[in-house]
């Protein structure tokens, strides 16, 4: 995750401090200096870093050192509060019109991920908010940009509006809005061409689109890799267009994404969404407070829980629970569980959200995902009876399954072992439920 390295750095700083018994100006200074370097290396804007560190210092110095409180905890608290304030303090969402159409325009530099994000945003609104969405391609300059959006809209089954490339984007916007209103769409997303903030002609074009259709939201795409200049870009776009927010893209890369801190601080523009992977479902609402937690190494458990709730169908869950209470758990059930987890995003994206788990290397994550796929292939090679009663499998049957799935007998045995473990875990979960306690991440333990 983008903030992993920041998290690690803070972790190291606080580890050093844990050995100290009191919070003195001297030892705090050392920690603050490291925080400063860490933030700068994360591409947080220089001025923001300066303000941040001096704020933290001021607050820490003004406070009496509390007795019996770990000094590092105290500084964590101050840093955390300050980071939350920097990141925007509140959770920011798109303001949808109560009735009728909400128009959203995406703008930004070339290559920041506008077209991909347009698709991700449409999918999120369609699935999560049950909105009727229309995507419109206004990028008449970049070769195949319209085709790219068309392909994406097909993949996510969202309607698509285009007028080719030999046309004024302002006209496309107008016609798209007319159609969206006439056909009762809830949301219209305008994907505009990438441009440099210093390109007057193209910036004026955006102003004209703005004047023609009055978007409810104008979101600036900012690449997590952006450097010190990100704030200037945001400022210029904001001055021309009166932006309403920011989408941070490519937060799954190894860039630290510090510009998310800077932009909120310098422009007041909230980050509303975060792109966290290459799949079209990999777009998250951006929670500043949780991001601050993550920076400080607390993980993002709440996000994980919410994400899980969204994917698991309520009725399905009730049915499953009933079956479980009867003590039934088949290979099909296990496969279903695996698929649920897969739907939540890749294992790697999930693992990053769980505190204490960010140490998985990309290779390990890859291995975990491959194992899931192998399991599915093997289970699909079994008869329905075998899936319900894996304990009855004989050597010859295992042989047949191994051949059918192109795996080895050992692989088949591994599936059965995993099933036994999961079944055991299910039993424990029932006991937890009976005793009224929460199980620890039930059913997911097998995927690491």
């Amino acid at each position: 995750m983008a903030f992993e390295s920041l998290t690690e750095k803070f972790g190291n700083i606080f580890k050093k401090m844990r050995r100290e018994t009191t919070l003195t100006e001297a030892n705090m200074d050392a920690a603050l200096r490291e925080i400063r370097v860490a933030l700068l290396e994360a591409d947080v804007n220089y001025k923001v870093v300066k303000a941040f560190t001096s704020d933290v210092k001021e607050k820490a110095l003004g406070q009496e050192v509390l007795k019996k409180v770990n000094p590092s905890q105290q500084l964590i608290k101050i840093c955390h509060d300050e980071l939350v304030e920097l990141l925007g303090a509140d959770n920011t969402e798109i303001s949808y019109n109560k009735t009728g159409l909400t128009t959203i325009m995406l703008v930004g530099l070339q290559g920041t991920g506008k077209t991909t994000s347009a698709g991700k945003l449409a999918l999120l609104q369609k699935n999560k908010l049950k909105k009727k969405v229309l995507l419109a391609g206004l990028d008449v300059y970049r070769p195949a940009a319209i085709e790219q959006l068309g392909t994406i809209s097909k993949q996510i089954q969202v309607d698509f509006f285009e007028m080719g490339t030999d046309v004024d984007p302002v006209d496309v916007a107008k016609k798209a809005k007319e159609r969206a209103v006439a056909e009762g769409y809830d949301v219209l997303i305008l994907d505009t061409a990438g441009r440099l903030q210093i390109d007057e002609a193209l910036m004026d074009e955006l102003k004209n689109v703005n004047a023609a259709v009055h978007p409810d939201e104008i979101l600036l795409l900012v690449d997590a890799m952006a450097g010190q200049d990100a704030v200037n870009v945001a400022n210029t776009f904001n001055a021309k267009l009166r932006l309403t927010g920011v989408i941070m893209s490519k937060l799954d890369g190894d860039a630290k994404g510090g510009s998310s801190l800077s932009i909120k601080y310098m422009t007041g523009l909230p980050v509303k969404f975060a792109g966290v992977g290459e799949k079209l479902s990999d777009l998250d609402v951006f929670y500043p407070d949780r991001m601050a937690d993550r920076i400080l190494g607390m993980g993002d458990v709440i996000s994980l829980v919410e994400k899980a709730q969204e994917v698991i169908d309520e009725k399905e869950a009730a049915k499953e629970a009933k079956k479980l209470m009867k003590g039934e758990f088949t290979l099909d059930d296990m496969l279903k569980q695996m698929k649920t987890v897969q739907r939540m995003g890749s294992v790697s994206a999930l693992a990053k959200l769980i505190p204490g788990m960010p140490k998985l290397t990309p290779e390990q994550q890859e291995a975990a995902e491959k194992r899931m796929r192998d399991f599915e292939t093997i289970i699909n090679s079994m008869t329905p009876y075998e899936r319900r009663h894996p304990e009855t499998l004989k050597f010859s049957q295992k042989n047949r399954i191994a051949k059918g799935s192109g795996k080895t007998n050992a692989d088949v045995n591994r599936v059965i072992k995993q099933w036994e473990k999961s079944k055991e875990m299910m039993k424990q979960m029932q006991q937890y439920q009976k005793s009224g306690k929460m199980p620890p991440m039930g059913g997911m333990g097998g995927f690491r």
Binding site: D43, T151, Q155, Q197, G227, D254, P362
Partner: protein, 332 residues
């Protein structure tokens, strides 16, 4: 000789060659933002102070970091500068600035120049150029610009669209191919990039192509996949054309912050890079990234994108770069 003196001396003669003159103008224009954010700020700073003090050093630090020179390098430079100024009793702002710039760039002048930036062509077989980089850095556009460059030199150029992952990537390259009127080999979406390479290599051999440029998917997130994919592509290419790919260029976005170097390091772990192409330099105010990349990787910057027009991709010329970044067309 100080760097400023060197640059001024070198560029004081009027350019006779018109082509050279045009190149120089492109550098001047493309790096105008970088210069304003770096050299012009340094000069403005030196005018505000009569003597350097700790405030002066603070402001220097800000200028360097905001030019994306990098924290570590910045702190190192300023430490050196401070001890030098104390030892030699330098307090004049203008001289301090010159010392700083010498420290930053002199290494480059000394180690540079022996590199040939142009693609080196093979005798009697097609030359294969693999182009890699993360999404959105301007890979496809750079490929089109490179293709145009070598077409203009009379070479038979073809393209291979091996980015079968991103929606629309193949179409984008196809459009460029038809604009450039050069052959292109493509595969279906999500098909095996290696099979595209195979077809392209065959085509190149059969049709006497001089330069085959291969576009790849920019998937850094999943290093293992990328590595496997590139290894397979290389295997297929070298089976068809000996020692292919002969060049592997990494494309980096000039607006990238501290991650630019990290990106280059990650790719270098996976493939043998022979050069770097920096894009979008006209849109950024920090030219600092070029220094750290060459410093930490030892991979030369071969081409630099100075504008949006088709012929705005220039061979990287260190002297031109430094002159445009530091001196500019000063009103002398």
């Amino acid at each position: 000789m100080g760097l400023f003196a060197y640059l001024k001396n070198k560029f004081s003669k009027k350019k006779d060659d018109q082509k050279e003159q045009i190149t120089a103008e492109k550098y001047q224009k493309g790096l105008a933002k970088s210069r304003a954010a770096f050299a012009d700020r340094l000069e403005e700073l030196s005018k505000r102070y009569e003597k350097v003090n700790s405030d002066y050093f603070d402001e220097l630090e800000q200028i360097l970091i905001e030019a994306d020179v990098g924290v570590e390098l910045t702190l190192k430079l300023l430490d050196q500068l401070l001890s030098k100024s104390q030892k030699e009793n330098i307090s004049e702002p203008k001289r301090i600035n010159e010392e700083l710039i010498d420290m930053m760039f002199v290494d480059y002048l000394e180690s540079g120049d022996s590199i040939v930036n142009d693609v080196q062509f093979q005798e009697g077989q097609p030359t294969v150029l693999l182009v890699i980089g993360v999404n959105g850095v301007g890979k496809t556009t750079s490929i089109a610009k490179l293709a145009k460059r070598y077409q203009n030199q009379g070479k038979k150029v073809m393209l291979a669209a091996a980015d079968t992952f991103r929606a629309g990537a193949v179409e984008q390259l196809k459009i460029w191919a038809s604009r450039l009127d050069c052959p292109i080999v493509t595969g279906a979406e999500n098909s095996d990039p290696a099979s595209v390479c195979f077809d392209a290599a065959r085509y190149a051999k059969e049709h006497g192509i001089d330069l085959l440029i291969v576009d790849t998917a920019g998937r850094l997130q999943n290093k293992k996949n990328l590595m496997d994919e590139l290894a397979k592509m290389k295997r297929v290419l070298s089976r068809e054309i000996s020692n292919a790919p002969h060049e592997t260029f990494l494309v980096i976005d000039g607006t990238t912050g501290q991650n630019g170097v990290q990106q280059a390091i990650s790719f270098k772990e996976v493939v043998d890079l022979t050069g770097i192409v920096i894009t979008k330099m006209d849109g950024t105010s920090k030219g600092g990234i070029i220094l750290s990349i060459r410093d930490e990787l030892g991979v030369p910057v071969r081409f630099i994108g100075l504008g949006e027009k088709m012929d705005d991709l220039e061979e990287f010329d260190l002297d031109e770069y430094l002159h445009a970044l530091l001196v500019g067309e000063r009103k002398e």
